[in-house]
């Protein structure tokens, strides 16, 4: 039976997170945009305590995302709702929150019980812990199959070599000074096998041979670090491989690894929605102050340009939101959502880019000024059109699905 109303507990959680976003994130949003590469430790520690104390908050997301049959039957939906609120507060700060993140999600999705115990238990400790996912390489953008990093077996170890870039929270997860975290690294055990040869490996923070080379200066989401990781003869235990070490004939295994994205893309979409809604809410308030009313139901010919712009922004955001909720809901109900997850990500990434860009324009000279957060939201928003698969990559995935093409037939 179709229903668009949030369950009372999720609605309540949203309320709590909204207050947190408003009181703990908004006040420091500008500061950590200007002070790039500095970490909001007070906020980080508060969030860590919070996520341990209550069942709400981002600490849980990663742990929960990716489960096909979760205990909490609304886990993925709960997560996207939570992420939208936190990103409404500030997208950069949201991304800096400690927790399993993408790395943990991967362990959760394909890890053995032993691995889950060994790595996920850390997120119950007293000190903030991060984990991260390292996929992209300098040479190979979105083309995961072209990964150059290698993992060579040496007795009961794997030896990793290669360079990874654009690793979100790589600094916090990979540098033991920051946390007892870990990085999930994609590498090939057999380059000749193409996609089938690609495996993911768990590397503990501080493992000799892994160094955090640099953190990028970015357009936005500056409170979150985007690290470059270098692996030089980095030795890790054999058991740190996620999934089977075998190289199958087919690239099924790779598909398995890629499946993590079905859980994480709706989360990125949700983060986009939060940024977009922040801008929309602000514009709505400003228009109200200026006496510009939004007349729903008015004849098209009677609308003002700015009024119609606002309606378009609002509709686009809601369309993206419903696609996002659906993708999460499907996963909560054990349905494959690869197509729907990409739809949510592609739509939300594009919409938030356009909505925030328009918001800056609608506010006139003030919109362009750093006195307000609107210009920051525009800078933060754009990342959602890029990471976890660019707009183009997600359109490609959708196209392959609807046309029934393999990655060979459509690339």
């Amino acid at each position: 039976m179709v229903d668009f109303e949030l369950s009372p507990d999720i609605a309540a959680q949203r309320e709590q997170l909204h207050m947190l976003a408003e009181n703990a994130m908004r006040p420091i949003a500008r500061e950590y945009d200007e002070r790039e590469h500095e970490k909001p430790w007070d906020f980080i520690n508060m969030m860590w305590q919070l996520s341990k104390a209550s069942d709400i908050g981002p600490g849980k997301e990663g742990k929960q995302a990716g489960k096909q049959k979760p205990v909490d039957s609304n886990r993925n939906l709960r997560t996207v709702i939570a992420v939208e609120e936190l990103s409404w507060g500030d997208a950069g700060l949201y991304l800096s929150i400690p927790g399993p993140g993408l790395g943990g999600a991967a362990v959760q999705a394909v890890g053995t019980p032993e691995q889950k115990e060994r790595f996920l238990s850390r997120f119950k400790g007293d000190k903030p812990v991060w984990s991260a996912m390292a996929i992209t390489e300098p040479g190979a953008g979105s083309d995961s199959a072209a990964i150059q990093a290698t993992a060579v077996r040496d007795g009961d170890h794997w030896v990793l070599n290669g360079t990874k870039i654009f690793c979100t929270s790589g600094l916090m997860a990979g540098d033991p000074k920051n946390s007892n975290g870990f990085i999930v690294v994609w590498a090939t055990v057999d380059r000749s096998a193409g996609r089938a040869g690609i495996k993911s490996f768990i590397v503990d923070a501080g493992t000799p041979g892994m160094t955090v080379a640099k953190c990028e200066d970015k357009l936005g989401i500056r409170a979150s670090d985007t690290a470059t990781l270098i692996f030089e003869d980095c030795r890790i235990p054999f058991d740190n491989i996620l999934g089977s070490p075998e190289v199958p004939k087919t690239s099924e295994g790779f598909k398995g690894v890629m499946a993590t994205f079905d859980a994480t893309r709706p989360i990125v979409a949700a983060s986009a929605l939060g940024v977009g809604r922040a801008a929309l809410d602000f514009v709505r308030e400003e228009l109200k102050k200026q006496g510009v009313e939004i007349r729903y139901g008015a004849a098209p010919r009677k609308l003002t340009a700015i009024e119609r712009d606002f309606m378009d922004m609002e509709t686009q955001l809601q369309a993206a939101r419903l696609l996002t909720w659906r993708a999460a809901w499907m996963m909560d109900n054990g349905q494959k959502n690869n197509l729907e997850a990409s739809m949510a990500k592609a739509k939300a990434g594009l919409v938030v880019t356009q909505v925030t860009q328009k918001a800056v324009e609608m506010l006139g000279p003030l919109g362009y000024s750093r006195q307000l957060l609107v210009e920051k939201w525009m800078r933060d928003a754009k990342i959602n059109d890029i990471f976890e698969g660019t707009q183009q990559i997600n359109m490609m995935i959708i196209a392959r699905r609807i046309l029934g093409y393999t990655s060979k037939e459509l690339s």
Binding site: A298, P300, A319, M330, A346, M395, L410
Partner: protein, 369 residues
């Protein structure tokens, strides 16, 4: 509790309608458009689905299933997927029966509803649109004024479906408030009311198989009980939203029809040594269509869901109608582009989808959820 799944009954109805649209409607779409008429056999078979009778209470001869805007949206999308003109024709009686069931007096219902529970298609209609550049459904130029125990309607309408066939029509008029402002008011008018003149059949770019006419109302006198929910703004707002959701759902159907047609063509058609669907320019167009069809449907369902909870859905329904009108046009246009020169030829249906799609931004009250 968020849920994106239809209930079993809705799934059942949808399956039935999908089959009907595929096997009965679609094969007639082209001929119906060229001949500007819907074959009687289709009306007969369509009537048997009980889409009109279902929500009429049993005491008037209907099946008495509760009215659901969401179910209405599902049905509208699937029928329109087959063909928009045929769908609007088949569902036209609901333009009268739905408001009657919701807002009519017992006396009025027992007088008018039984006619729609017979064995053969019974035309019904609503006269909403007015032949003016600045038509505004929230303030119709057609006037309604009290005169003794009766009301008197005067004005001109257009895009009246089955105008020459319907014995009873729902007419949207403007009732002037004390402060001079106008508020919309729906009334039931019999075609044989003195002063009512059905004009010539209209010729439009699309939806050609559906008969639409102009309508002139020259001081038509209607008894008070044919004025539905007098002064009940909420009821009139709900009616307008039911119209919006009905047309929006049909827009989704047309968009999906265009998308499916283009997708299948793109898989078959080869150029430069590949199926054209293997070209990113084409593949990404199709991907966007798929994404937007889903997005549109969800917006429509949300508005319908709100109507079924009897909450004010003006924002959702209005935004859904604007969005579906714009996006459906773009999808139909891109679908034609996928077919290239072949899309411009009437051997294929995409040009028909485009002509029909262009109507949604303008049309009002041509369908009801």
């Amino acid at each position: 509790m968020i849920n994106f799944a239809l209930d079993d009954e809705q799934k059942l109805i949808r399956e039935t309608v999908i089959g009907f649209a595929r096997d009965e409607i679609r094969p007639h779409a082209r001929e119906a458009d060229e001949k500007c008429t819907v074959p009687a056999s289709l009306l007969r078979r369509g009537w048997e689905l009980g889409l009109v009778q279902s929500m009429i209470p049993e005491e008037y001869g209907g099946f008495g299933t509760e009215h659901s805007a969401l179910t209405g949206a599902v049905v509208a999308e699937e029928l329109a997927y087959g063909d928009l003109a045929i769908a609007t024709h088949l569902l036209a009686p609901r333009l009268l029966t739905v408001p009657l069931v919701e807002l009519g007096s017992t006396e009025l219902k027992s007088r008018l509803l039984p006619a729609f529970c017979g064995d053969t298609f019974e035309p019904g209609s609503a006269a909403v649109v007015e032949p003016r550049f600045d038509f505004d459904p929230s303030a119709p130029a057609t006037t309604l004024r009290r005169e003794g125990d009766d009301y008197v309607v005067s004005g001109a309408k257009c895009f009246v479906p089955l105008g020459s066939q319907a014995k009873q029509l729902l007419v949207l008029a403007g009732l002037t408030n004390g402060d001079g402002s106008v508020r919309p008011q729906a009334i039931v008018v019999a075609r044989d009311t003195p002063g009512l003149r059905v004009g010539a059949r209209e010729q439009n770019m699309g939806v050609k198989a559906l008969e639409t006419t102009t309508l002139d109302l020259d001081a038509c006198r209607v008894p008070r009980d044919q004025v539905l929910a007098v002064g009940d703004r909420a009821a009139m707002a709900r009616l307008a939203n039911l119209w919006r959701v009905g047309l929006s759902a049909m827009a989704v159907g047309v968009a999906r029809a265009a998308y499916d047609y283009a997708r299948e063509y793109a898989k078959e058609r080869r150029a430069f040594g590949q199926a054209i669907g293997q070209k990113q320019a084409i593949a990404f167009m199709l991907a966007e269509m798929a994404m937007e069809v889903d997005a549109m449907r969800l917006l429509v369902w949300e508005a319908a869901w709100k109507l079924d909870r009897h909450e004010d859905a003006t924002r959702e329904a209005y935004l859904a109608k604007r969005y579906t009108a714009d996006v459906t046009l773009r999808i139909a246009d891109n679908a034609l582009q996928v077919l290239g020169g072949h899309g411009y030829i009437r051997d294929h249906l995409v040009e028909l989808f485009l002509r029909n799609a262009r109507g949604f931004a303008t049309l009002e009250g041509l369908a009801i959820a």
